[in-house]
C-alpha cells in the first residue's frame, strides 16, 4: 500500500492514503480518510454494480454494559430504528421499503455496528435517514416496551433451540468471570428492570465518532456515496467524545463454575439428540501464531478430509456434523467445537473427541496433514474474494483487528510458511485442554447414564440458571 497524505476535495476530509495497491495486490483501489472528529473511513468504489453498503463500526459493545444493567447496549442500538422527529418507526419502515434500502443496528461484545444499504440512486435518502436516526433518535416509549418484551422472549424461548442454548451456556462457563459470559441481549433479571431514561442516557456512550471506523462500498466517484457519508459523520453529535468509559467489573456465575473434566449437563427434555459444545478461551486475532492456528483448525475441521469429520462422522458414525475452530476476537478469542449425537452415544462421542484432541496436542500431526491443510487454505482463499464487496469486508475486518489493509496479500505466503515444528508448538501453546469446558444440552434422564458409563463426571443444571 502506498501511503499518501493530502487534503481531499471536501474541506473536512483528510485523505490519509490511497490503496491498492500495485498490480499484484488482491485489494482493489480504495481510499482511507480521516475526518476532523477522529472517524476513519475506508472507501471502496464499485463502478459496475449500482449498490452501496455503509458499515459504521463503533468500538464498544455489550462488554461495556455496567454490572446489573446487562443488555443496555443492545437496547440503545435497538432504539436507533424506532423514530426520529417527524417519523415514527412505521413511517421509517415505509420510507426504507420505498427505496428498497435498509438501516440496521447490531451490538456485539466488543463493538456496535450500524449499517445501511440500497441502490445507488436512493443513497441520498437512505443515508440521510441513517444519520438522522443516529443523531436524533426520539426514544419513543411504546417501541421500547415492545423491544424489552422481545428481548425477554428471545431469552425465555432460547431452550426451544437446544443448539443455541448449548452455545450460550458454553460462553457462560468458558468466559465465566468476565463480561463475555453474559448474553448480549442481557440477563432476564436485568431486562425486567431497565428503564427508557437509562437507555437514553446510555446511548451517547455507544455512538462515538472518536471510536468509529467506517467502511463505504459503492459509487464510481467520491461525490456519489462517500462525500455524503463523510458529511453525515462530521455532523454527528458526540457528547461522550474524549471521555473515558469505566470498565465494568468481573461477572461471576456461581452455577457455571465447573471442575476440570466435569461435563455440564443442561436439561432439555423431549429430544433424542444431545447437543454438545466444547471450548476454551483462546487467543486474539493479532496472536503471533495466527497462521499456525489457522492450519491447525483446518487439520481438525472445516472440510471433509479433516480429522474430526473422518474419525467422528465417517469412521465411528457418531454424528451428522462436527465443527471446531478458533474465534479470534479483537481482545480475546475462543476455541469452540460443536456437534450433536443421538442420546445413547453421548458418552462415546465426548470420550472419542477428548482422545482425538489429546493426540493432536501431543503432536500427532504428520506432513500429510500439514500439506492437505495448507493446500486447502491457500486454494480456498480466492473463493471468498469474488467481488469488491467481499474483499472490502475482509479488509475492514482485518483493520478492526489492528491489521494493515494489505494483510490479504500476505495470506497465502504466510500459510505456506507454516512448518510442522511451528504448528506443533502453536498447538501446544494455544490448544489448552486443561481449560476445556464441555456442555451438553439434552434429556438428562437419557444422557446421564451414558455419561456415567464412560466415566464422565457431570453436573446437571437448568437453562434458567444461565438466562
Amino acid at each position: 500500500m502506498k501511503r499518501v497524505v493530502a487534503t481531499a476535495g471536501a474541506a473536512a476530509l483528510l485523505l490519509l492514503a490511497t490503496g491498492a495497491a500495485g498490480k499484484k495486490s488482491i485489494v482493489p483501489r480504495y481510499e482511507t480518510l480521516l475526518l476532523k472528529n477522529g472517524a476513519k473511513v475506508y472507501w471502496f468504489p464499485s463502478p459496475n454494480i449500482p449498490l452501496f453498503e455503509v458499515h459504521l463500526n463503533f468500538r464498544g459493545g455489550s462488554d461495556l454494559d455496567p454490572p446489573g444493567r446487562s443488555g443496555i447496549a443492545a437496547f440503545a442500538a435497538g432504539m436507533i430504528r424506532r423514530g426520529v422527529p417527524g417519523l415514527d418507526e412505521n413511517a421509517i419502515s415505509s420510507k426504507l421499503d420505498d427505496t428498497a434500502g435498509g438501516v440496521e443496528a447490531s451490538v456485539g461484545e466488543e463493538d456496535t455496528t450500524v449499517s445501511s444499504y440500497g441502490l445507488n440512486e436512493h443513497a441520498p435518502e437512505i443515508l440521510d435517514l441513517m444519520f438522522e436516526e443516529l443523531a436524533h433518535p426520539t426514544f419513543p416509549e411504546e417501541p421500547f416496551k415492545r423491544l424489552r418484551t422481545n428481548h425477554l422472549d428471545s431469552i425465555v424461548q432460547l431452550p426451544d433451540s437446544p443448539g443455541a442454548l448449548a452455545t450460550h451456556v458454553l460462553d457462560s462457563v468458558m468466559f465465566n468471570g468476565t463480561t463475555k459470559a453474559r448474553p448480549s441481549t442481557g440477563y432476564k433479571r436485568d431486562l425486567v428492570r431497565v428503564k427508557l431514561d437509562a437507555v437514553r442516557d446510555y446511548y451517547p456512550t455507544l455512538v462515538r465518532t472518536d471510536k468509529l471506523a467506517a467502511l463505504v462500498i459503492g459509487g464510481k466517484e467520491r461525490r456519489e456515496i462517500l462525500d455524503r457519508v463523510a458529511r453525515g459523520l462530521e455532523a454527528l453529535p458526540c457528547p461522550a467524545c474524549g471521555k473515558t468509559i469505566p470498565e465494568p467489573g468481573p461477572v461471576d456465575l456461581p452455577p457455571a463454575r465447573l471442575g476440570k473434566g466435569t461435563v455440564l449437563l443442561v436439561s432439555r427434555p423431549g429430544i433424542s439428540e444431545a447437543h454438545v459444545r466444547m471450548g476454551f478461551v483462546g487467543p486474539r486475532r493479532k496472536v503471533a501464531e495466527f497462521y499456525d492456528l489457522r492450519v491447525a483448525e483446518t487439520i481438525l475441521s472445516g472440510h471433509f478430509a479433516s480429522r474430526l469429520n473422518l474419525v467422528i462422522r465417517e469412521k465411528l458414525g457418531l454424528t451428522y456434523g462436527i465443527n471446531a475452530g478458533f474465534n479470534f476476537g479483537t481482545t480475546v478469542g475462543s476455541f469452540v467445537l460443536s456437534t450433536s449425537t443421538r442420546n445413547d452415544k453421548v458418552g462415546e462421542l465426548i470420550t472419542q473427541v477428548n482422545k482425538l484432541l489429546a493426540a493432536f496436542v501431543r503432536g500427532e500431526i504428520g506432513e500429510d496433514d500439514l500439506r492437505i491443510a495448507k493446500d486447502y487454505l491457500t486454494g480456498s482463499f480466492p473463493l471468498g474474494l469474488q467481488n469488491v464487496y467481499a474483499i472490502a469486508g475482509s479488509v475492514f475486518g482485518g483493520v478492526l483487528n489492528g491489521l494493515e489493509p494489505a494483510f490479504l496479500d500476505d495470506f497465502q505466503d504466510r500459510v505456506n510458511g507454516v512448518t510442522l515444528e511451528s504448528l506443533r508448538a502453536a498447538v501446544r501453546k494455544h490448544v489448552t485442554l486443561d481449560q476445556l469446558k464441555t456442555v451438553v444440552v439434552g434429556d438428562v434422564k437419557a444422557l446421564s447414564p451414558r455419561l456415567a458409563k464412560h466415566g464422565l463426571r457431570y453436573v446437571v443444571r437448568k437453562p434458567g440458571e444461565f438466562l
Binding site: L51, T149, I271, G317, Y320, G379, L383, Q386, P463
Partner: protein, 443 residues
C-alpha cells in the same frame, strides 16, 4: 449443438406510468448446448475473479419416491460421494479439497443438486471427476450402512430435535396425505432403515443419467476450452432412458383441516397452508408477490399490525412455495410467550380478508418491486448467483432465459391481480392449519 448468446444486457432503466424502478439485466455471456447423450450444459462467463462454480442439477428429488422408500433421494445424494475406482471416497474429497474447493450437495422435492466452487485453473479436474462418478459410481453395502447412520443422525438433528421442523412435517402430512409432497425430503427413520442396496442401484440407473441432468459452469473460464472438456469427458457417457415421473395432484376433500400438536416448548406457534397451483400456473408469480407484499416487508401490514401494534407475535412470514406440483402458500407466526395462536390466526385472516376486499395500494406493490430489483442486482454480484437463476429456468421450463420473462411479469403486476388470487386461493375451505402448543415436562 445449440448455442444461444444472451448477450450483453446492461441495466435498462424504464420509467413506466407509476413505476420508477429500473429493470436490471446482468452483464454475463451465456451459452447453452445439449450433448448427443442428452446432457444440457450452460456456460456463464465472468472474468471478475479467478474462480468457477460448477453445479449439476438432476431432475429427481423426494417427489420421485414411493411410500415405504421415503428418503432415498437424499440418502442417495450422500452415496454419490462414496467414490469410484479412480477416485475412492476419501480421494474424491481430497482431490478437490486439496485445491481449496467447496464441495457439497442438497436434495429438494423436485431436484438434487451437486456443486463445487474452485479456483478456475482446476475446471478440467472437476469436469473429469464429476463425469467419472456419473458413469462409475461404486455402491457397496458397507457404505450404505454407514451413510444410513449419518442420515438418521441428520434427521434426529434437523427434525427430532427441532420442534418447528416437526410442526412443518405435520402440516405437510396433513395437506398431502397421498402425494409425495406430504413426506419429508429426509424421509422417515423406519424407511431409512429399510432402504436396500438394490434400491440405490436402481435409483442410480433410473435417474442419474446425462439426459436427466443440467450442468452449469459459471465464472472465469474460456468457453471453447470448457466445451472441449465437456465433450471429452461427458460425451463418452451413454445415455439411458430416464424413468418419467407421472404424479396426480393431491385431491383432498374440501374443507379446512386442522391439527394441534403438543411439544415441550415455551411459546405457541402457528402454521397455515393454503393449497395453491404449481409454478406453471399463471397465478404463481401473483401468489409469490402477494406473500411478499402482505407479510415480507418491514412495512407490510402483518408487521405493522401483529408485530408492532398488537404485539402478538415476534415475527410473521409467508411464502408461496412454487414447485413442479401444486403446493402451499405458507403463513407462519412465531408467537410472543403467553400469546394464543387462535388470536394471531384471527388477525391473519383479517389481513387476508382485507386484501380480498380492497386491492393493495400501488405504493405497497411498488415497495415489493423495488425489493425485487435490489435482490436481483445483489444476486448478480457473482456469476454463480446468475447461474442459479438460469439453471432454474432451464430446469423447469427448458428455457434458461425464462427467468427474465418472469421478472418482467413481476414488474408489470397490478394490485388487482393480487386481490384476485387472494380471493381465489386464500379461503377457509382451501387451508390446512397446525398449531403447536407447549406441553409436557418443562426444563
Amino acid at each position: 449443438m445449440q448455442a444461444l448468446l444472451v448477450g450483453t444486457l446492461l441495466a435498462l432503466v424504464s420509467f413506466g406510468a407509476g413505476c420508477s424502478h429500473a429493470h436490471w439485466r446482468p452483464d454475463y455471456k451465456v451459452h447453452r448446448e445439449k450433448l448427443p447423450n442428452g446432457l444440457t450444459v450452460l456456460y456463464v462467463e465472468d472474468h471478475t475473479a479467478p474462480v468457477v462454480s460448477y453445479t449439476t442439477w438432476f431432475k429427481v428429488g423426494s417427489a420421485w419416491e414411493k411410500p415405504g422408500s421415503t428418503g432415498i433421494a437424499h440418502l442417495f445424494e450422500h452415496m454419490m460421494f462414496k467414490g469410484t475406482s479412480r477416485y475412492p471416497a476419501r480421494k474424491f474429497f481430497e482431490a478437490l479439497e486439496s485445491k481449496g474447493a467447496l464441495v457439497n450437495a442438497y436434495t429438494q422435492r423436485d431436484s438434487t443438486v451437486y456443486y463445487e466452487v474452485i479456483a478456475a485453473k482446476y475446471l478440467e479436474t472437476v469436469i473429469d471427476m464429476e463425469s467419472d462418478r456419473l458413469a462409475n459410481l461404486l455402491l457397496t453395502q458397507a457404505d450404505l450402512d454407514s451413510e444410513r447412520q449419518v442420515v438418521k443422525e441428520e434427521r434426529r438433528l434437523r427434525v427430532d430435535s427441532n420442534f418447528g421442523a416437526q410442526q412443518m412435517e405435520s402440516l405437510e402430512k396433513l395437506a398431502f396425505p397421498t402425494h409425495p409432497y406430504g413426506w419429508p425430503v429426509i424421509g422417515y427413520q423406519e424407511d431409512l432403515d429399510r432402504l436396500s442396496l438394490k434400491e440405490c442401484e436402481d435409483f442410480f440407473r433410473d435417474y442419474y443419467q446425462p439426459g436427466n441432468a443440467i450442468v452449469t459452469i459459471a465464472g472465469d473460464f474460456d468457453y471453447e476450452r470448457a466445451r472441449e472438456w465437456m465433450t471429452k469427458y461427458y460425451g463418452k457417457l451413454a445415455g439411458h432412458p430416464v424413468r418419467e415421473l407421472a404424479l396426480r395432484d393431491e385431491k383432498t376433500a374440501p374443507g379446512e383441516k386442522r391439527l394441534t400438536i403438543e411439544r415441550p416448548v415455551e411459546a405457541e406457534s402457528l402454521l397455515i397452508g393454503y393449497y395453491i397451483p404449481s409454478m406453471y400456473s399463471e397465478d404463481a408469480e401473483r401468489l409469490s408477490m402477494l406473500a411478499w407484499a402482505l407479510f415480507g416487508m418491514n412495512s407490510s401490514r402483518s408487521n405493522v399490525e401483529l408485530v408492532r401494534k398488537k404485539q402478538l407475535a415476534l415475527g410473521v412470514g409467508a411464502e408461496a412455495t412454487l414447485e413442479r406440483y401444486p403446493s402451499l402458500f405458507l403463513v407462519s407466526a412465531e408467537l410472543k410467550t403467553g400469546q394464543r395462536a387462535g388470536a394471531v390466526e384471527e388477525e391473519i385472516y383479517k389481513l387476508i380478508e382485507e386484501a380480498k376486499e380492497k386491492p393493495l395500494g400501488e405504493d405497497e406493490l411498488e415497495r415489493v418491486k423495488n425489493g425485487l430489483l435490489y435482490s436481483t442486482i445483489n444476486e448478480s454480484k457473482s456469476s454463480a448467483g446468475v447461474a442459479g437463476w438460469l439453471t432454474s429456468g432451464e430446469f423447469y421450463w427448458n428455457d434458461h432465459q425464462r427467468i427474465f420473462e418472469k421478472l418482467d411479469k413481476y414488474y408489470a403486476m397490478k394490485p388487482e391481480e393480487l386481490r384476485q388470487v387472494a380471493r381465489k386461493y386464500l379461503n377457509k375451505e382451501n387451508r390446512v392449519v397446525v398449531v403447536m402448543k407447549p406441553q409436557g415436562e418443562k426444563p
